[in-house]
Amino acid sequence: MSAVELRHEFEDLLYYEAWLLDHDRLEEWLALCAEQVRYWAPTRTNVARGSEEWSRPLMLAHFDEDKGSLTLRVQRIRTGVAHADEPPARVRHLVSNVRVLDGNAEVATLTSNFIVFKSRRGREESLFVGCREDRWRRIDGTWKLEERLIVLDHDVIENITVLF
């Protein structure tokens, strides 16, 4: 598979994934995650240029999830009484700048940028902006998300009721 073909394949996959998240198809989104997935979003700090250490092992994060905790988050939404998302927000994921850093037919690492817009009840609009570094692996013939590092561009953030 050529580099261009691989990038096209992942662009399609990331757009599909965004569509699932925007249309409340969270169980189908979960199915894209490998059983051993790590999904994490470290906090950001304002420090001297070049000295930010957001990948430190014990750093507090906005997410540090495995399949079990991601599933719990989705189950919580499905109770219908997750008050911060009931009635649900309108959510739109815009995904761009897709770059396959390294890849073959079995495993690929790639980065993409995102803007997520959330609107709810007229008074509550949020933007979340950042970059994702993903590793996808082909498992039983389909690509599964094995690791996602979400590098948010916010240091002070709003209530995070969305997935990235």
Partner: protein, 424 residues
């Protein structure tokens, strides 16, 4: 217009919505609460070495918390004496000097003005540098690693201010000799809501749990009975003098957690029995939620301990800064569990935290209308039913009660209505 203090009705135990919505009340609070109380600024483990600093806020005031060259903790107003520029714009670091980026005035970590560009040429050497050091917050004291500061020179000692609360703080912070350290990173988030709604909730609002976190109940992760199994002894709320509140609850850890925590907990409990009174060590391993008046709270739940500040940002905006505390000698698996559980439950994405944030913002918006705000909010639950316990300080009552929640407003009222003439 009413005096601020009249907005809290002691006889009927009600609070006016204006306490949460009125910009004049908010402005008065900055003087009467935040400029007078002890405010939490940092944990000692964040600044172990000379020159280490973190930046934070005391109310709306930007401050630098710094360990000086002699090892003493000083808190400076983070604003240059020349034009007011914020001199330190990083969250944390180590330095010998704070250098203002605007015109270059430079201060050492004792706060002295040690560098003035063109001192001879422009100031003719006449500027009295010794008079223009950084503004230093006059009172800084700490308790079990928690560093507090106060703008009020004449304020009572931190020890006297924390008073009965020390007994409860000790059940967490003094249970082992090794003590606690702060994890790297801070959860910071901005949300609608008045800071007091968050502070009062953490001072003892157990009543909200079943409705507010109903999603957790439906998933089988919370059960009303779990908070009521040992009334008075281990399931209780405490109203304390000075407006502090504490909630002590029991809940069996889920099996997966117990497996990781079990051995460590047993060790901690054994050590706690040596260090604390029997009544205190009986409480080790419970859920704790507490507020030190006005805006510092501590929460211990499912294996983690967080301390946090509810920074005021206008009547209907607060910024939460929340840290993770772990025992210095806890095994790595226990630390990692604490970190992950804090992220999952009480972070900006937390499956409990989100529910609370939704309430605080909606309360303030919904009660602020011209008609609604004429009618007070009800804080009557449990009034007059608190008891003294020979072994535990404060006024005690099992869940559900709101005695400590209203106690927060009794203290607020006392500070807001001291007759110095600020009217809402």
């Amino acid at each position: 217009m009413a005096e601020c203090g009249e907005l809290v009705d002691l006889e009927h135990r009600t609070v006016s919505p204006r306490v949460f919505t009125d910009p004049d009340v908010y402005r008065a609070e900055q003087e009467r609460i935040f400029a007078r109380c002890w405010l939490y600024v940092a944990h000692a483990s964040q600044i172990p070495q000379p020159g280490d600093f973190v930046t934070n806020y005391m109310g709306e005031e930007s401050v630098i918390v710094c360990r000086d060259a002699d090892g003493r903790v000083r808190v400076f107003v983070n604003s240059c004496r020349h034009r007011g520029m914020r001199i330190c714009r990083t969250d944390t670091g180590n330095t010998r000097m704070f250098h203002c980026p605007y015109h270059g005035w430079t201060y050492d970590v004792q706060g002295r003005l040690v560098g003035v560009p063109q001192y001879q040429e422009a100031y003719y050497g006449e500027l009295k540098r010794e008079e223009w050091g950084l503004l230093e917050v006059p009172r800084v004291e700490s308790y079990r690693g928690l560093i507090f500061a106060s703008f009020a020179e004449e304020v009572e000692s931190l020890d006297a201010y924390l008073a009965e609360m020390k007994w409860y703080l000790d059940t967490v912070l003094d249970r082992t000799a090794a003590g606690w350290v702060v994890l790297p990173g801070v959860h910071k988030w901005s949300l609608k809501g008045n800071w007091k709604l968050a502070a009062e909730q953490f001072s003892g609002d157990n009543y909200h749990v079943m409705a507010g976190h109903e999603s957790m109940v439906r998933l089988g992760l919370l059960d009303q009975k779990t908070f009521m199994g040992q009334p008075w002894t281990r399931d209780f709320e405490v109203q304390m003098e000075k407006g502090h509140g504490w909630l002590n609850l029991t809940m069996a850890d889920p099996p997966a957690l117990a497996e990781v925590l079990g051995a460590h907990q047993a060790q901690v409990q054994a050590e706690a029995r040596q260090r604390l009174s029997p009544a205190q060590s009986d409480l080790v391993g419970c859920i704790y939620v507490g507020t030190v008046f006005p805006n510092f709270s501590l929460l211990s739940f499912v294996g983690f301990v967080t301390v946090r500040l509810w920074h005021p940002r206008g009547p209907n905006r607060m910024e939460v800064w929340s840290w993770g505390l772990v025992e210095r000698e806890a095994p790595p698996a226990v630390v990692e569990l604490a970190r992950k559980m804090q992220i999952l439950t009480f972070s900006p994405s937390g499956i409990f935290e989100q529910d609370d944030g939704e309430m605080w913002g909606e309360c303030v918006e919904a009660m602020g209308g011209v008609y609604r705000r004429r009618f007070p909010l009800n804080y009557q639950m449990g009034a007059g039913h608190g008891r003294r316990d020979p072994e535990k300080p404060g006024l005690i009552h099992p869940p559900s009660t709101e005695i400590s929640v209203f106690g927060f407003y009794e203290r607020w009222r006392a500070l807001m209505s001291d007759g110095t003439g600020v009217h809402a």
